[in-house]
Every structure is written in C-alpha cells, then in structure tokens.
Symmetry: C2
Subunit: 374 residues, 2 copies
Amino acid sequence: MAPDPSATGTRMTSQALGSDPVPGSPRTGSVMRDVARLAGVSHQTVSRVLNGHPNVREATRQRVLEAVEALGYRRNLAARALVTRRTGTLGIVGFETTLFGPASVLYALEDAARRAGYFVSVTTIRDLDRRSILDALERLRTQSVEAVIALAHKPAITAALAQLPDAFPRVAVGGSGGEDTVSSVRVDNVTGAGLATRYLLDLGHPTVHHVAGPADWPEARQREEGWRATLEDAGAMVPPVRPHDTARRAWGAGIGYEEGRLLAADPSVTAVFCANDSLALGVLRALHEAGRRVPDEVSVIGFDDAPESGYLIPPLTTVRQDFAALGQQGIALLLDQFDHSDRADQARTPRQVVLPPVLIPRASTAPPGQQPHA
Amino acid sequence: MAPDPSATGTRMTSQALGSDPVPGSPRTGSVMRDVARLAGVSHQTVSRVLNGHPNVREATRQRVLEAVEALGYRRNLAARALVTRRTGTLGIVGFETTLFGPASVLYALEDAARRAGYFVSVTTIRDLDRRSILDALERLRTQSVEAVIALAHKPAITAALAQLPDAFPRVAVGGSGGEDTVSSVRVDNVTGAGLATRYLLDLGHPTVHHVAGPADWPEARQREEGWRATLEDAGAMVPPVRPHDTARRAWGAGIGYEEGRLLAADPSVTAVFCANDSLALGVLRALHEAGRRVPDEVSVIGFDDAPESGYLIPPLTTVRQDFAALGQQGIALLLDQFDHSDRADQARTPRQVVLPPVLIPRASTAPPGQQPHA
DNA sequence: TCGTTCGATGTGAACGTTAACATTCCCGTG
DNA sequence: CACGGGAATGTTAACGTTCACATCGAACGA
C-alpha cells in the first residue's frame, strides 16, 4: 500500500484520505431531509429542533424527534463543521504519556473536555526536534481543532505553542511556566521542593542531598531550585548535584539506583530529596543493598505520589501533585479564552495558574540517627 | 440492514457546537480557489496536485505547490470529509488509562495510527454501566470515525463493540478475547501465568500461591486459570484464592499488601504468583514487614514488567507483556479490515491475534529454603 | 493527411448542514 | 376591519472539497 503519494515535505501529507488505500464506505444511513420527510416538515425545521432553537411548536418538535429516533438519524459533523466553521474538537499534544504523571493529566484533560462538550483529538510527540513538534501542531490544525492543549514538559513545546497565530486558543499544561507568552497551568515545583526540603531540615537533618531529574525538563530544574533555595535560606550546606542528560530514562528508577549507590557510599548522607518517586524508588533499593536503613540512617523523599509509593519499602514520603486538577484547570483556562475571544482586549493576555503541591509524610523519613522501630 | 444499538437518550446531546456558548471564528485563511487563482489554474487542478493525481504537468504542479506555500494554504478536512465520506479518523475507547499497561497501549495505538496516516480521537470510559459505554461509542460515531479500537479489558466493552453495525470496522485490544465476534489482539495470559508458575515449580517449590486481580477482568481470570492449570498438571496442591470484587484499586498495591499479610502469616507459603506487578509490590512490602525474606524464604513473581519492577527490593521476576506490540497489532488488524471491506466474503470473520508473554527472571525468585546471599 | 486516443485541464454538480431571508398565519390593536 | 408584528415554518444559498464529465491539444498510427 502506498504510504504517501503527495510531494512536498510534511505539509500536505496525504492522510488516510489518500484515494488509493482504503475503500470503505460508511453507508451513511439517513440525512436530514429523510427525517424531514418522515416528520412532514422541512429540513430546516429538523435543524432547528436538533439545535434547540426556540421557535418550534412543541407538537412539531415531538414529531421530528420521533422521526429522528425511528431512522436512527445522526447529524453529519463534517457538513456541520463546514458551514459553522466549528468542529467542536480540541487538540491535545501528548508527551511521554506512558509516565504516570502525563498519563493522569491526559486522562483528566479528556474528561474535562468531554464534560465541556468537546471532542478530543490526540497526537503524541516522540522526538523533541523542532520538526516533529511542529508536525504535531500541523496535524492538529489540519483537523481544524478549535484549540490546542499541550503537555508542555519541555520548553520547545511551549515555544512552539507560542508561535501559533495570535487568535488561536492554546494552553500549556505542566512543565515550564516561565513563558509569559502562553496561558499555562502547572504545579508549583519550587514550593513543592521547598516543602520536602524544609520537612527534612525540620526533622533535624544538617542538610539534604538531591537526586535531580533530567536537566532539560523545567520541572526538574525548578525542583532543584526549590531545594537549593531552601537549603540556602536555612544556611545549610548545598551538596553537589549530578546532572543527567535527557537520556530516555532520566526520570526512571535506573538513574535513581545509580545515584543511590553513590549516596549510599557517602556516610555523611542522611537525607535525600528525589525529583520524583521513580528516582526515589531506585535510591531506596540502592540504600537497601548497601545496608543503609531507611529511614533510620537515611531519609528519602520523592515527588508525585504515584499510586504505588505508599507501598514501597518503606512507604515513601513524597510531594503530591494533583494531576487531575492540572487537566481540569487546563480546560477551564481554554474555555475562558473562548469566552473572551470576541473582546480581544485582554483576552490575549496569557493567564498562569499555579497549583499548590502537598507534602504526604510517610515512613521513609525520620530524624537523623534514629533507632529502628519496626 | 444495520441494526442500531442506540435506542436510549443521550442521542443528540448538543456538542460544543451548540449555538450559544462559544463565539470564536477561526478566520479561515485561504481556500482552494485562492490557490488556483494565484497559480493560474482551476481549483480542480489544485485538488489534483494535492491529492497526487498522475495527470498533472510537472510545471503546473510546481506552480500550484508554490501558491500553496505562499498562501499557507491548508485543506479543509470537513469539506473533504463531506464529499469523500471519509474522515481519516480512528476512534479509540480508553479505559483505566492511567494504569501503566493501558497507557502504554494507548500510546502505541496513537503512534501506529499516525504512521498509517490516521487521526485519532480518544474518549475514555469512566463507569462501566452499559450506558456510558454506549455513550462513548455514540460520541465516536457522531464524529464519523472510520473505525473503533477499544481497550477492551472488560467484557462489557467487547460486547458493546460486537453490537456495532456489521460493516463497521472494529478491534478489541487487550482483555478478554473469548469473544469470537470481534477481531482482537491480546496477550496470552494463560500461557504467561503458566510460565511463571512452572518457573517456580521448577525451582523446587512444592506449590505456588496466587494473588488474583479483580475477578471481573478476564485478564485476571485467565492468569488465575493458567496458574491453576499448571499446578494441576504438575500434580501440585492448588491453594485457595481470595477473590476481589472490582473495587477501584483491585489491581493496586494496596490489595497486594493486604493479601501479602495473610500469606506472610502462613509459614507454608514459599512462592507467590501475583496477577500484576503492583500487587507483587504490595506483597513484597507485606513480606518484608513480616520479616519473611524474599527470595530466601518466599519467592514472588509478578506480571507486566512495569518500568520500576527491576528496581524493587528485591528486583521483581515478572512476565513481560509487549504493550507496544499490542497497539501496533491492533492497528494492523484494523487496516486489514479496511483492505478487505470490499470483498465482504471473509472480511467479516473476526481475527484473533495472541501475543506471547516472556518471563523475565530477576532476584525475587529462588529455590525454596535458600540461604541469604546478599 | 486525417481521424483516434490519451494527457492535461476546466466546468458543473454534488456532499449535508446551517444562515439568511421569505412566507404564512394568527393575534391584538387602533 | 385593516394593519403591524411576531411566532412558526419554508426556500434558497452558501460552506470548500472531490467526482463525473466535457473540452482542448498534441502525438500517433494508418
């Protein structure tokens, strides 16, 4: 089968619509005129009924509805979109959606969009080169989505969003937030990291080590920043942080394990703040292997509150992000842009929503030099 | 002659298109005629170029493409869909997509669909009542998707799929597979469970206990079945299994923890096969708390091979499912239906693809009565 | 040299819906 | 009793493509 007949770059790639490959005829069923005939009215009246227009006599409305039911009639969205210039579809740009966080956000986004009466078209970014990000956006625009929501964990994604035409509604969810060019929803990573760090300091630890996420994720940077600032505020020594390049598994337990081995070898380490729960899980394992007890000798704290984190050995103290709220607020921000899109005045001004993280204390943290208790 | 499943209300829920709420005018940009004028040809020639028709002079083609580029022209999918009766969109019905497995499948589906030139519209099922499943399907059909792929972990979902009109292409991914009414892709859970169980028996364990998944998930049932059959084959005693109702977290570490505590209290238990890795994680924790060493005293094995499983304490032996392949095969099966949809002969015959799971031996399993070694 | 054929292009008519405007009918009012 | 007006409905024309067919050349074989 011919994948792509057409010529130029990515632009007009023949979609599945390309004439050759797939035959398939959806066998339309009935159209508005059929309903109209059956109900003994004009197609326009049918349209009015279906769109909830006020000026239709109740008896007529009923007759039309019955005809609709009898024929199993379904409106043709394409025809509707053609004339109304509205598709009722939101585009979602996904990224790393097999990770727990992004997957949860995606889920919440879809839910909120549906509740708001929108369809959702999803496309996922695999590689982060400029081209594939723009491709994703292009794909969505080809579909005439009315707005785009991106899981904007990487700056490049937010940047691409910023380049959409002025009037195009968009929201960045998660990730950076530094950009004031795009409306965005994110969790306050700096505060979250501060929460974790302060908690450990308050327990009596002289300082807190940090296992960082990939350096090219703003979220990772912000957590590091929050950690560092808190230490400095407290006048504590700031231990060095080993940077990770964006290697695929840079948020993963494997990296946590490697880092954990190094930390385990350093007897001065009594507290570790990890940029997420997976990293913490790896650290936990490394400490365990090295015979360093948690939390008796070393306290460990994570970020995210993944579903399993409460059942690790020991249950992981962590900072919870409300992923569901992230998605809901994202859609809310979008609807807000729709509402104001007529009065262009302050509609263009991007809004930033920042969600507060919450510390979830569990058994992986304790004052330093503690005796075992379980 | 298409039996329509619909029946109930919900039918014509006013989508976001409903006249009132959102104004927003996407400011169309240029249309085909504009391109035609600029290139000095007819709109039909533009259409031909864009669709890769053969009979266009090279010079003309170039001129058209330049005009397209110059105007930033983009085809209107709605207009195209209206006349071709093809939307180039696949509908995906998601379920529990925040779990690692489903999220991975979703990801793979989207990827494969995109490669095949299709757009993807996603809708997620929250509650499993008949109504909301049908609603999901209805939503998708309103969008004129050309096919539906469902994450069919529950029988009710597969059943709903089976009720689509005869000619409607569909695929069930994951889950049951028992139904011969719908083409489906799934992992061979029975074999996978057998692999795990046999592995433990071969290590010398007299029998293997089982922590089951929710009873209303066919996957859970099949794993239990594979486990049971293998024990019976080997003439081993079959320990009782505690059933879990479909409580939300029935696949989760919490349940594993509860079960693990019971198992830990029984000194005769030397090997446990868990229906997934999360359950195993909970079991691991319970055993640890009870002071029963893994794998020295008790061996534990999971299912899925989640990314973290190699970093648990100890690293978890598990059965890997190839989620990516699940998605790819799902799309492949769909495309296959498209190809044959003209010759209705054997096209209707549902095809079943069953993927083999692989045992991943790690450190959570060992012969019974082993001495500690690390 | 002249039809015949095929390649390159143009013309007109769908596709199924909604928007705009026209029409009908009935009511209340002067 | 005619008239203005609004409620209920119908009629026509878009929307932007693609398809089917018509047209116009030029190349080709006899």
